[in-house]
């Protein structure tokens, strides 16, 4: 107390009183709370409230003493106001506290020092009122650095917050804790970050990622530990975390590129769903990564392409230089095998491309630089359009983009040619003459001059338009404005220098103009030109000289010099006609006022006019004067920037900025691509929780963590289709398994034989979810695992073929207990092969209607878990089992079966995907299996499966084909051809396969049902046999017959299912009202009455059997 009393007197600075106190306090940490035990700040127990009270007691007297304090010289207002602020903060009324905090924050915002209020503010950190709390946080983060010891008082509040059950509170506690830049708490922060990094909420993990660079900047000794955390977070599969952790990676350990290997593919695939800011960071990191890991895609092309181009732009020095060096390298490796792009490299390019359409300029630029640095020449073009679009944005954006465009257009000429028009006026680089002419008529002279210069550059850079430019410029010469003319002449001079031969005409024209043009620079240029090319215009040149000689005395210096030059040159080439003239000019010059001219005249005379002494020199005079001059290179100022990564600050400033990471050169040899392969165990080992999180990656599933199961509002259609199509266009979706499944499989061997078949058969190898049915209580967890497995698998899908090869056998072994199936391993191998055939052109975009199905029985299980639904969860069975297409006898050893896999067909959403299994039981291999000319009823169409080249004896293979049945049960006839034979086969779909499940809530169901009454409603009464009374059996039977999704339902005896027909997308709603007695009523509502009727028949049959 005593000390506080003395303070005001000791401090002289006005308003600095508090700061002074702070300094003192900072010097001795023990001092702050009176009588506190020295290591008080380590008191991490929740008793800290006691300490929070302590300063409060201190500050009250402090506040009251301060007002009347003995500071007559100081302005009273400042301390006084702080006084009442302190009082307000000390009251119990939240509104007063809030008011005070608002005023304090306003002070901070205006840059006023409010640090002397620290003790009064900091004790409100535990305030209940959220806004007060937030403002206190703002204050704390701003001043904690200055008042470290007092700041420590608040730490325990945050520590408590870190344990809060609410993820948002945990996150915000971590955020503020890590923002307090007080070195003493580094260990606490480290601990908190580590804990948060394995938090179950992705939001908290994101915050942890944010905290990493903060801690690093506070104490770089923690680097190693932080890298561990980063490594862990990099493995995270949520989009929320990805951007932040890569940012942390870039700040803490950008050199540890090895950490990326394992996550590379994941990052590529997640990219599109990451928020914009994260995208920018990830893309630039991946650019660097790719530069170190992949071979340059341009090295071979450069040989082919650069040469003609070089000839075309012969005069371009930089052009010649760039490819030259590249060529050297390629020439050195002539024997190199043709470049094949690494699939991962391709993956990156493919996944970033759609981002060119982002609304964020930063993302577009990031993708553009990625393409510029990484893509093969032929593909770079795609970015041009997007960049041109950016030019319509804010002026600041334009500025940056243009800088980059300039660099690009130097490196990759022609890239922007189609877009030249968009650049006129805006860019100085490529420009089109016609439009420019419009501008030249405008007012702004400076602008005109710049434009003409631009034309010049344009002409030099783009040979094609050079003539147009010249003509345009010559026309400009007749302009009455001198400045324009002058500028034009200068540019023409430069242009002509590059190809003088063809332009005698222009020179003549210029010569005529000398009479009119007054601007000395232009006159000088013309004279120089005439002199230089006097052999092209032998008649005019002397005439011009004569005129000039006449007006010599009146000319400007610069012109006079050129006249002398011209005279000298003419004398040398054509001395007969011009000897006298030259001598006249020289003697005029001799008496000029300007000594430069006098010097020049003397020098010239000595040089050209043969005399006794100068003989030796004069012989060389001709050489001196008429030496061919190299054409000037008109280049823009952007030439030397290309060594910086585009889009970076350093590039913009053309100087290395702090923290700039050099873009590494392409490696000579590709580093081992297998580092990016992800080991199988990694997926299975991952904790369930983490895997579950992964599921959220695709956007649009909003149930998360604590938020509970909002009946999975929309099991996102896109997510799957997106991840699906992303995952791989060439491979379907590989499916690996997880332990849980393999266990289950064993329990269900009996059942599984059927579903398993279809599994293998399905090229996609999607995991069939085991039927919930069996599981009663355990449903929650198992559905969880279910989604885990599929999520993990969807992850592994992304891995490339090489990896698949190692994954597949493994997982299969696990999945299929040896006894359960005769399906030979050979089959899987052929499966893999088959995938390779699948043309990548087929865009595997699954239509939302199919994917967004909800899941039959799994729903009850979901009420306690939040795992979003996975399509694979949703088709519990593959409908009717295997059906025969071609008997082995009829097929001469080739047996063909088919199943309806109930998976969306990747090529066309309207198609039913049919898995066809071939097995060769003959002695000889069957070759060239393909579909021959189908004879189809109108409306039905077939997407054929890719040809199977050969099927060895005893082997079997599976192919997927899509058939659009047009919502009818018509038969699809087609031929199955081998090299030698043709078999006529036909597939008739059961009505239940013509639809795909949709997810809807009970209310929606009722609403839709209400719309489909009358004609569209078909009702049938039936009696359920005893065997068929339990929930799951009913559900199972219905879903076996028809590919429908279950709709949650309030009453226990009612079952509802919903689906849409594939082709027309009309709803099919099925309700089964079962009484306990066994009587039941089946209702089907559908626009398609035929389908409805048939469906009722099928379902009744299935249920009553």
């Amino acid at each position: 107390m005593q000390r506080f009393l003395q303070l005001p007197g000791a401090v002289v600075r006005p308003g600095g009183r508090g700061a002074g106190a702070a300094d003192q306090e900072a010097a001795s940490p023990v001092l702050a709370p009176e009588g506190g035990p020295p290591p008080w700040y380590q008191a991490l127990q929740p008793e800290e409230l006691r300490w929070l009270q302590a300063p409060e007691e201190d500050t009250i007297p402090e506040a009251s003493l301060e007002g009347p304090g003995p500071e007559p010289g100081q302005s009273q207002s400042q301390p006084l106001r702080h006084d009442d602020l302190k009082e307000m903060l000390d009251t119990n009324k939240d509104s007063l506290k809030l008011e005070a905090m608002k005023r304090i924050v306003a002070m901070i915002a205006r840059g006023k020092n409010a640090s002397d209020l620290f003790p009064a503010v900091v004790k409100n950190v535990a305030c209940k009122n959220i806004e007060v709390k937030k403002l206190v946080y703002v204050y704390l983060v701003r001043y904690a650095e200055e008042q470290q010891d007092l700041a420590l008082l608040s730490i325990s509040t945050f520590q408590r917050g870190l344990k809060d059950p609410n993820q948002l509170i945990r996150a915000s506690a971590l955020r503020v804790l890590s923002s307090i830049r007080v070195p003493i708490i580094v260990p606490i922060m480290m601990l908190a970050i580590k804990e948060a990094a394995s938090d179950m909420s992705p939001y908290v993990r994101k915050t942890a990622a944010h905290a990493i660079p903060k801690l690093y900047s506070l104490d770089s000794d923690q680097k190693d530990q932080l890298i561990e955390v980063i490594e862990k977070l990099l493995a995270d599969k949520t989009t929320l975390v990805a951007g932040s952790v890569v940012m942390a990676f870039e700040e803490v350990c950008p050199e540890r590129i090895d950490l990326i290997h394992k996550n590379y593919r994941k990052l590529c695939n997640l990219l599109i769903d990451v928020e914009e800011w994260g995208q920018v960071v990830i893309i630039s990191m991946l650019t660097r990564y790719a530069r170190t890991q992949f071979l340059s895609p341009t090295q071979n092309e450069s040989l082919l392409e650069e040469n003609p181009e070089k000839a075309f732009y012969g005069s371009e020095e930089d052009e010649a230089k760039g490819p030259g060096s590249e060529e050297a390298t390629t020439a050195a490796l002539p024997a190199r095998k043709p470049y094949v792009m690494d699939p991962d490299h391709r993956l990156l390019l493919r996944n970033t491309k759609p981002l060119l359409q982002s609304r964020s300029a930063a993302v577009v630029m990031a993708v553009a630089q990625l393409y510029f640095h990484l893509a093969p020449k032929a593909e770079v073009g795609v970015i041009a359009k997007a960049l041109v679009r950016l030019l319509r944005s804010h002026s600041e954006v334009q500025y940056v983009v243009l800088q980059n465009v300039a660099t690009m257009s130097i490196k990759r000429r022609g890239m922007f040619e189609p877009y030249l028009k968009s650049f006129y006026i805006r860019s100085t680089d490529p420009t089109q003459i016609k439009i420019l002419k419009t501008y030249i008529r405008s007012m702004d002279k400076d602008f005109v001059a710049a434009t003409i210069q631009a034309i010049g550059r344009c002409a030099t850079n783009i040979g094609r338009v050079r003539d147009t430019c010249l003509n345009g410029l010559v026309q400009l010469l007749s302009n009455r404005d001198e400045l324009v003319v002058a500028e034009s002449v200068v540019v023409i001079k430069k242009l002509l220098q590059m190809q003088p031969a063809q332009h005698g005409e222009i020179i003549k024209h210029l010569a005529k103009l000398t009479d009119n043009i007054q601007v000395p620079m232009a006159r000088a240029s013309i004279l120089w030109l005439i002199g230089e090319y006097c052999e092209h215009v032998p008649k005019i040149a002397p005439d011009v000289l004569r005129k000039m000689a006449k007006s010599f005395t009146a000319e400007e210096d610069i012109v006079k010099l050129q006249v002398i030059n011209l005279a000298a040159k003419l004398y040398l080439t054509n001395s007969k006609q011009t000897k006298l003239l030259t001598q006249y000019v020289l003697s005029l010059a001799k008496y000029d006022q300007n000594y430069d001219i006098r010097d020049r005249a003397r020098f010239t005379r000595q040089l050209i006019v043969p005399s006794e002494q100068g003989g030796a020199l004069s012989r060389h005079a001709k050489k001196l004067f008429l030496a061919p001059k190299p054409a000037p290179v008109l280049e823009s100022s952007f030439k030397d920037r290309d060594h910086f990564q585009l889009g970076s600050l350093s590039h913009l400033l053309n100087a290395k900025a702090t923290g700039y990471q050099e873009l590494p050169d392409w490696p000579e040899e590709a580093p081992d691509p297998s580092v990016r392969n992800v080991e199988v165990p990694e997926w299975t080992k991952c904790s369930n929780r983490e895997k579950r999180k992964e599921k959220e990656k695709p956007f649009y599933s909003d149930s998360e963590g604590e938020s509970g199961p909002t009946e999975s509002a929309d099991s996102d259609p896109e997510s799957e289709s997106a991840s699906d199509s992303k995952s791989s266009s060439e491979s379907g979706s590989g499916e690996s398994s997880s332990e849980s499944d393999s266990e289950d499989q064993e329990e269900e061997k009996g059942k599984s034989s059927e579903s398993e078949q279809s599994e293998e058969e399905s090229g996609k190898r999607k995991m069939k979810k085991r039927k919930k049915v069996a599981e009663g209580q355990g449903e929650g967890s198992s559905s969880d695992e279910g989604s885990d497995s599929s999520s993990s698998s969807s992850e592994s899908e992304r891995t490339s073929d090489t990896e698949e090869e190692q994954v597949e056998p493994d997982s299969w072994r696990k999945k299929t207990p040896p006894s359960s199936k005769s399906a030979p391993v050979a089959k899987e191998i052929s499966l893999l092969d088959l995938e390779d055939f699948t043309p990548p052109s087929v865009q595997p975009v699954s239509p939302p209607t199919i994917v967004s199905t909800s899941l039959a029985t799994d729903l009850e299980g979901l009420t306690l878990t939040d795992s979003p639904l996975v399509p694979s969860l949703l088709s519990p069975v593959s409908g009717v089992g295997r059906q025969e297409l071609l008997h082995r006898v009829a097929g001469e050893g080739l047996a063909v079966d088919y199943t309806f896999s109930r998976q969306p067909f990747s090529g066309d959403p309207h198609m039913v995907s049919v898995h066809i299994h071939f097995s060769n039981s003959s002695e000889t291999p069957i070759k060239g299996l393909h579909v021959g000319t189908p004879k189809l009823p109108p409306g039905i169409s077939i997407q054929e499966f890719p040809e199977i080249e050969s099927l060895a004896p005893g082997e079997s293979a599976t192919a997927v084909m899509g058939i659009n049945f047009c919502d009818s049960t018509q038969v699809a006839n087609f031929q199955l051809c081998t090299q030698t034979r043709q078999f006529y086969v036909s597939i008739q779909p059961p009505v239940g396969e013509l639809m795909a499940p949709v997810f809807m809530s009970e209310n929606e169901f009722k609403k839709e049902q209400g719309k489909l009454t009358g004609m569209s409603e078909i009702t049938e009464k039936l009696t359920l046999p005893d065997t068929c009374r339990s929930d799951h059996i009913v559900v199972q039977k219905v879903t076996t017959v028809a590919n429908l999704g279950r709709v949650p339902c309030g009453t226990s005896d009612e079952y509802r299912f919903a689906g849409r027909t594939l082709t027309s997308g009309s709803l099919v709603l099925l309700t089964l009202d079962a009484r306990p007695t066994g009587a039941a009523q089946l209702t089907v509502n559908s626009e398609k009455m035929v389908i409805g009727t048939m469906l009722v028949k099928d379902v009744v049959q299935a249920l009553t059997q």
């Binding site: 930063a362 028009k421 913009l652 998360e704």
Partner: protein
């Protein structure tokens, strides 16, 4: 990343500063002021200014400079884009983004900025989420707050940040579910003296105002999607679906947002719906020139042309103009030589015209430039490009 942010008004006062890392002294802005002095106009201040220890990236909007201070390498567009986003957010919050408004709401501004960046890295930039965190001030709320002492800060925890649809709030409810889409198209065209079009390009945006309950999933298809040459989307739009089917499929944010902007290239040349007849002549001998402009509609499909404004930069030699418009008002500024004529609506029966004489500087030779005429106009309910949406279905 972004270290600090300074808001500077056009007279050079720093009226707001915010630091996300340790404090950067505001003296760093001196470099900015220097650059500002060198640039004659506010628009000409370079967006990136290097200083010995920091880099200043600035954006000039609404007569305020938003100057971000950064220390390390960062893509400049990243920062610039962010600054623009800040301005947009303020505009969204306060209706206008001007110095007095920011000063009045300094606390809200500060809170918003605090949420937008964490340690210099953008955290929550979606205005939907921000509004959930910090409620925008309205008159009503201000009154209520002063009386009851309640606050602007949302007392509910923002769940939006957690969702994988970060742009949409959860639990949105409306009694009237409605969605509006505005298609706004701009044509930029240059027409030469004889009336032929040199370039024309169409720049269009679709702004949406969606007020729908729950988590609606909308699809929007276009009559002629091939016309769209170059599009950029709000992040809610599913890229894949667009690429494969040319259908916009999205879960919209709540409220107003820009769904997409597109560009229709000059290849599909468009008919400009307006024409200008001009007759401007200077005579060598006299100090008087004749001036006559008529504006008329052309292929407007029966729609009226509104908000027509003609501006023209006259040559320096023109001292004054005495003109009589047949409708609307006109002004001529003798200092900048800018003629502007606010025409209003065009009545096709009676074409608006502006006639009169120009007085030229005596003795000077006639100006050799032809003045350019800029014409701004608006047409409601007409989409020049013919792309507008044809179908709008929604599913829940």
């Amino acid at each position: 990343m972004i270290h600090s942010l300074f808001l500077i008004n056009s007279s050079g006062d720093i009226f707001l500063e915010k630091h996300w890392k340790s404090v950067v002294s505001r003296s760093v802005c001196d470099y900015f002021f220097e650059a500002q002095e060198r640039a004659t106009e506010a628009e000409n201040v370079p967006p990136v200014i290097p200083t010995p220890h920091h880099y200043l990236l600035s954006v000039y909007r609404h007569k305020i400079f938003f100057v971000a201070v950064i220390q390390t390498e960062v893509p400049p567009l990243f920062v610039i884009e962010f600054l623009h986003r800040v301005v947009d957010t303020f505009q969204d919050y306060f209706g206008v983004c001007s110095e007095p408004v920011i000063k009045d709401n300094v606390v809200v501004v500060y809170e918003v900025l605090e949420e937008m960046l964490d340690n210099g890295f953008p955290l929550a930039t979606e205005s939907n989420i921000l509004k959930e965190l910090i409620k925008p001030p309205t008159i009503l709320r201000t009154v209520v707050n002063t009386i009851t002492g309640s606050t602007n800060v949302g007392d509910q925890l923002p769940t939006g940040q957690l969702s994988v649809v970060p742009w949409r709030r959860t639990g949105v409810k409306y009694t009237n579910n409605e969605a509006y889409f505005d298609v706004i198209e701009e044509i930029d065209a240059i027409i030469d003296k004889s009336g032929s079009t040199i370039t024309a390009e169409i720049q269009g945006v679709i702004d949406a105002c969606v007020k729908l309950t729950g988590m609606p999933d909308l699809t929007l298809s276009f009559m002629n999607p091939r016309l769209l040459d170059d599009v950029s989307f709000h992040p809610c739009v599913r890229f894949k679906r667009w690429e494969s089917e040319r259908i916009l499929s999205f879960i919209p944010p709540d409220g107003n947002f820009r769904l997409l902007s597109y560009h229709v290239s000059a290849q599909n040349l468009v008919a400009i719906p307006v024409y200008v007849k001009h007759n401007i002549s200077f005579r060598d001998s006299s100090s008087l020139g004749r001036f006559e402009i008529t504006v008329g509609p052309k292929q407007t499909m029966g729609k009226t042309i509104e908000g027509v404004i003609v501006t023209s930069q006259m040559p320096k030699g023109v001292l004054n103009m005495s003109l009589t418009p047949s409708q609307g008002t006109h002004t001529f500024d003798p200092v900048t030589k800018m003629l502007s004529w606010d025409v209003g609506k065009i009545n096709p029966q009676k074409l608006p015209s502006l006639k009169g004489t120009m007085s030229l500087q005596a003795g000077a030779s006639k100006p050799d430039e032809n003045p350019t005429i800029n014409l701004h106009f608006k047409i409601q309910q007409l989409a020049i490009s013919g792309v507008p949406r044809s179908l709008h279905s929604k599913t829940f």
